[in-house]
């Protein structure tokens, strides 16, 4: 009850023109940053950070949190319409969202991603407000062994993504993992496969690789198809059909389940929203009545991925507010925003500055609502992109891909890397190697390797088996790897 009174007070703190304006500006900026390939949520928050220096702390915090929240939705917009995930966490959204666009159902993709994001965001916030204390206590108990097992479980998604060409899917995942080892080894500091090139010391940056593998490889495929004067889909008239309330209602379980997974994964510092959306997508596929249509434009896939990445925002705030430990790159920047105002994030804020905490909670609800309204209006505007003929759209996509890749680290090397990944991706895709496992390998590679080696340093090789949580996760992963393969054998013995 006390919580509710606090929350009502919280709404009081943000009642006014300035906080509302901050939310609206934040949401607009967030959607834009999210939709822009190359500008990740954390970069969006960081770009706006200097502007908040002169604002009162609550307004600044509200603004930046709104950016963070909305950017996780924004990523889905370009993922659905032009197969260019604006953020790493929107990759899984593209799996089913883009096929919807190709089928002339972009409105479905955009509508579901918006509703799922809003619901996911709300679930994440509610869990944050109600359960943050016990959840944070569990999150810090995560041993590197458990992080490793979690990452392995994430990788098992490949098995269910793979389909018939499993050897190619696994090759792609392994290639992603191998690419991930390029750069300075974070454990021993040894340089691996850098070929004396300073730009490779950190390995290939994830975002240019992502843009190359998804957006550019698709662009090259479209060029090869040859019909440049047409549009992404022949059926333009249907593109602007939106799902009805009933359609959304049918997705309620898929959305809720993914929201819970997303929030939980978001809580673990060092997992992240991309992993959250992959795992939720995978779970959605495994629990769906029609797993075979996943990857071919199943609305459940869009709902699962989007609900999860938006829910992870609430999750990532849990360790930030209860322990002072950021749960993601974006929340790390939020620490900076508090520091500049002489405030240290952490549990003490609850007693010292309740106005800040409860005002922030309240603002997150409002931001979610604003995001829904702006997204509703914006996606009706944005959907016109599907009307642009390909011979205009293709050069624009390449141009925005290079801007995005450059903006990540202000480096031309990354633009080159993006083109390189685009060409390699196109060649591989053309011959049946799927792109998603490569990305999954790149997302999980470092998490897996680093935590594996940390765990071994801390507790020897046995640590993975005598820690119950790790053992359970390992067993689930093995089952998750094996199940789709066994299933496939049964169906088509060849």
């Amino acid at each position: 009850m006390e919580l509710i009174t606090h929350l009502i007070e919280g709404f009081g703190y943000i009642a006014g023109i300035a906080p509302f304006l901050a939310i609206v500006v934040g949401v607009i900026a967030g959607i834009f940053v999210g939709a822009m390939p190359g500008l990740s949520p954390s970069m969006g928050v960081a770009i706006l950070l200097p502007f908040t220096f002169k604002m009162p702390p609550l307004i600044g915090l509200v603004l930046l949190t709104a950016v963070y929240l909305a950017s996780n939705y924004g990523g889905s917009i370009t993922a659905v319409t032009i197969n260019t995930p604006g953020t790493p966490s929107a990759v899984a959204t593209a799996f089913d969202g883009y096929p919807l666009t190709l089928q002339g159902k972009a409105g479905w993709g955009l509508g579901i991603s918006l509703v799922a994001s809003t619901v996911g965001g709300m679930v994440g916030i509610i869990i944050l407000i109600v359960f943050s204390q016990p959840l944070a206590a569990v999150a810090v108990k995560m041993h590197p062994a458990e992080y490793f097992s979690l990452a392995l479980f994430g990788l098992s998604t490949v098995a269910s993504l793979a389909g018939k060409d499993w050897a190619k899917a696994f090759t792609a995942a392994l290639l992603g993992l191998l690419i991930n080892t390029i750069g300075i080894d974070p454990i021993s500091g040894v340089k691996r496969y850098t070929f004396g090139e300073t730009s490779l010391f950190d390995g290939f940056d994830f975002i240019p690789a992502l843009i190359g593998l998804f957006a550019l490889s698709e662009v090259f495929s479209k060029i090869e198809e040859g019909s440049w004067k047409t549009r992404l889909s022949g059926e333009i008239s249907k593109q602007e059909q939106w799902p009805t309330l009933k359609d959304y209602w049918n997705l309620k379980w898929a959305t809720l389940q993914a929201s819970l997974v997303g929030t939980l994964i978001g809580i673990f510092p060092g997992a992240g929203s991309a992993i959250a959306s992959f795992l939720a997508y995978d779970l959605g596929k495994r629990t769906s009545k029609h797993p075979e249509t996943f990857g071919k434009g199943n609305p459940e896939g869009v709902a699962a991925a989007e609900a999860a990445n938006s829910a992870s925002v609430g999750g990532a705030m849990v360790p930030l507010l209860t322990l002072g430990i950021p749960g993601s790159a974006s929340t790390a920047v939020l620490i900076g925003a508090l520091m500049i105002h002489d405030l240290a994030p952490g549990p003490l804020l609850f007693t010292e500055r309740p106005d800040l905490i409860y005002g922030l909670f309240a603002s997150m609800f409002v931001a979610n609502g604003v995001m829904f309204l702006l997204g509703y209006w914006g996606s009706r505007l944005w959907i016109k992109v599907t009307k642009v003929p390909l011979n205009v759209l293709i050069p624009l996509i390449i141009s925005i891909a290079s801007v995005g890749s450059f903006a990540v680290k202000n480096s031309l090397f990354d633009v080159g890397a993006c083109f390189g990944f685009g060409v390699v991706g196109w060649v591989l895709k053309r011959h049946g190697y799927p792109m998603a496992p490569i990305v999954l390998g790149m997302v999980l590679g470092k998490l897996m390797e680093v935590n594996f080696r940390r765990a071994v340093i801390m507790g020897g090789y046995g640590v993975f088996f005598y820690r119950p949580a790790s053992l359970i996760l390992l067993l689930i992963s093995i089952a998750a790897f094996a199940y789709p393969l066994v299933q496939m054998r049964k169906e088509s013995p060849n």
């Binding site: 090759t171 392994l174 191998l178 454990i187 691996r192």
Partner: protein, 190 residues
Amino acid sequence: MTIQRINTFLDSPLGLGVLLVFLAGIEIPLYLFLRRKESPYKSQILILVSLVYLSLVFLLLSFAFPVKGKVSAGVTPRLWILGILLCSLYLAIRINKGKEKSDPSVSSSQSRMVFLYILLCLGYLGAIDLLGFFPASFFFLLIGMRLLSYTHPVGLIVLSLGWIAFLYLVFYSLLSVPFPEGILIPYLLG
């Protein structure tokens, strides 16, 4: 000792060049051979050979990593390489038995356009370095749209300029992304 020295040489820009020349030296004769045999798996075999080559090179290089700590830096890459080699073997067997799907058939004019476009992208990259980001993007958009037979002259100019203006306003002015200025213009202006 000798492996160490070979690896030190290979792990340099020159070494990378040598490795790529080697790859080309394997792939080009193989391509010509496969074309004569009219293999339906021409490209897939070339991809597999590249993957195996990449894996073997990375494996060789991994033996030069200094061994530090309990799990040394080379262990993980070697594990992934093993996986790639096993998958490649499996795929090779399937190709040999003719069980794999054959290469997609695409007319040469369509593939040529992709190669033209890849060249255009490379040119764009070079032009950014030389002319600066905005002029390079302008020419890229112009040529890019023209290549895909968008012919309306006013549309070409308006779209390119409009897009550049958008990039300038949003990324350069608002987000202050420091786009490359190029070396040519400052050089000409002194």
